[in-house]
């Protein structure tokens, strides 16, 4: 077996040079050079596009089918664009704090990591509170989830997104806890980065929702 090489050195890129095997095959190096976890997360996010796409399309198809009789207002007629703009802005800025958290742990700055994570989670929390408030306003106006296709689609889409944000907050808080217990180290900063990817994704989805669902009439 002369052609066994150290996979540390060569990853599927043409004919490898001959280097004696040192690892018995248990490779820490991947063919693409990216870790499995990060690649897996991105692959997963690619698929999430189709999931959110389905719900966004449902909303676009139904947005004017708001109901009959007295309670026939579309979501667009009830939006408070300024309010939503502010909460969207908060969510957008949480992407900044998230990325600063990642950069902090890459520097090995654990305190900054926790601070930024907390800030991110807090901003996510503000966004969710805003959403809860908005939902309550609509409910008070008489429009619930079961009112009409338009309202089902509105609550379905934004609620679904809200659940994603909530899950993200839970992940952020877990990261803070793990960091406090010393389980997040500089050399596994990637775990924070991956949580960050999820968080940013939830944010970019909102960028789309904010424009397509709120701003465009």
């Amino acid at each position: 077996m002369t052609d066994i090489v150290d996979p540390h050195v060569v990853a599927a890129a043409g004919d490898p040079p001959d280097v004696p095997d040192a690892t018995h095959g248990l490779s820490h190096v991947t063919s693409t050079g990216i870790s499995n976890e990060k690649l897996g997360m991105w692959v997963f996010l690619g698929s999430e596009c189709l999931l959110f796409g389905g719900l966004i399309s449902t909303f676009l198809l139904y947005k004017n089918r708001a109901g009959y009789g007295d309670l026939n207002e579309t979501p667009h007629e009830l939006y408070d664009i300024l309010f939503t703009s502010i909460s969207s802005f908060v969510l957008l800025m949480s992407s900044l704090t998230m990325v600063l958290a990642v950069s902090a742990i890459q520097r090995g700055d654990h305190r900054a990591l926790r601070t930024w994570l907390a800030a991110t989670a807090l901003m996510g929390g503000i966004f969710i509170s805003g959403q809860v408030y908005e939902f309550k306003e609509f409910l008070n106006a008489g429009y619930g989830f079961t009112h009409s296709p338009a309202w089902s689609a509105f609550f379905g889409l934004t609620g679904f997104h809200g659940v994603h944000v909530t899950l993200g907050i839970i992940m952020l808080l877990s990261c803070i806890l793990l960091s406090l217990s010393g389980r997040i180290r500089q050399d596994n900063a990637e775990s924070v980065e991956i949580v960050g990817l999820y968080w940013h994704f939830v944010d970019v989805v909102w960028i789309i929702i904010f424009t397509v669902v709120y701003l465009i009439k």
Binding site: H8, L39, L60, S85, V99, R107, G108, G196, V204, I216
Partner: protein
């Protein structure tokens, strides 16, 4: 990332240095400012009295087109800078944008069959 970085516990400081070519905190803050500005323009844009200006439908097209473009720009900025796509392997960009492109294609196709493509003899 380099092989060493993944296998050998590296000394503090330079672990990922090679990975984030130029992705500094300064860049992130600048990016955020740009995003904030675009968002402000978006909201203002949507408040402009488009339909009062000239030919109504054309104006609405401009309004919507503008919003879509700004949305796209924001999306790409967040994905490339905050999500590091610009600095990472192209594979990541491909799988993610493949999903996105596919989603846009099939859903735009679907909505189009609902809205426009009746053609022929129709009762609706």
């Amino acid at each position: 990332m380099s092989a060493d970085a993944t296998t050998v516990p590296a000394p503090a400081g330079d672990t990922h240095a090679d990975e984030h070519h130029g992705a500094t905190d300064g860049l992130f803050v600048k990016t955020a400012i740009i995003l904030a500005i675009i968002t402000a323009i978006e909201v203002a844009w949507s408040y402009l009295p488009w339909s009062d200006w000239g030919d109504g439908t054309a104006m609405v097209l401009i309004e919507v087109g503008g919003l879509i473009i700004m949305m796209g720009v924001k999306f790409v900025i967040v994905a490339s800078v905050f999500m590091h796509l610009r600095f990472d392997s192209k594979v990541l960009t491909r799988v993610f944008y493949a999903g996105l492109a596919l989603a846009i294609a099939v859903y735009v196709g679907t909505l189009a069959t609902f809205e426009f493509f009746t053609g022929g003899h129709s009762w609706n």
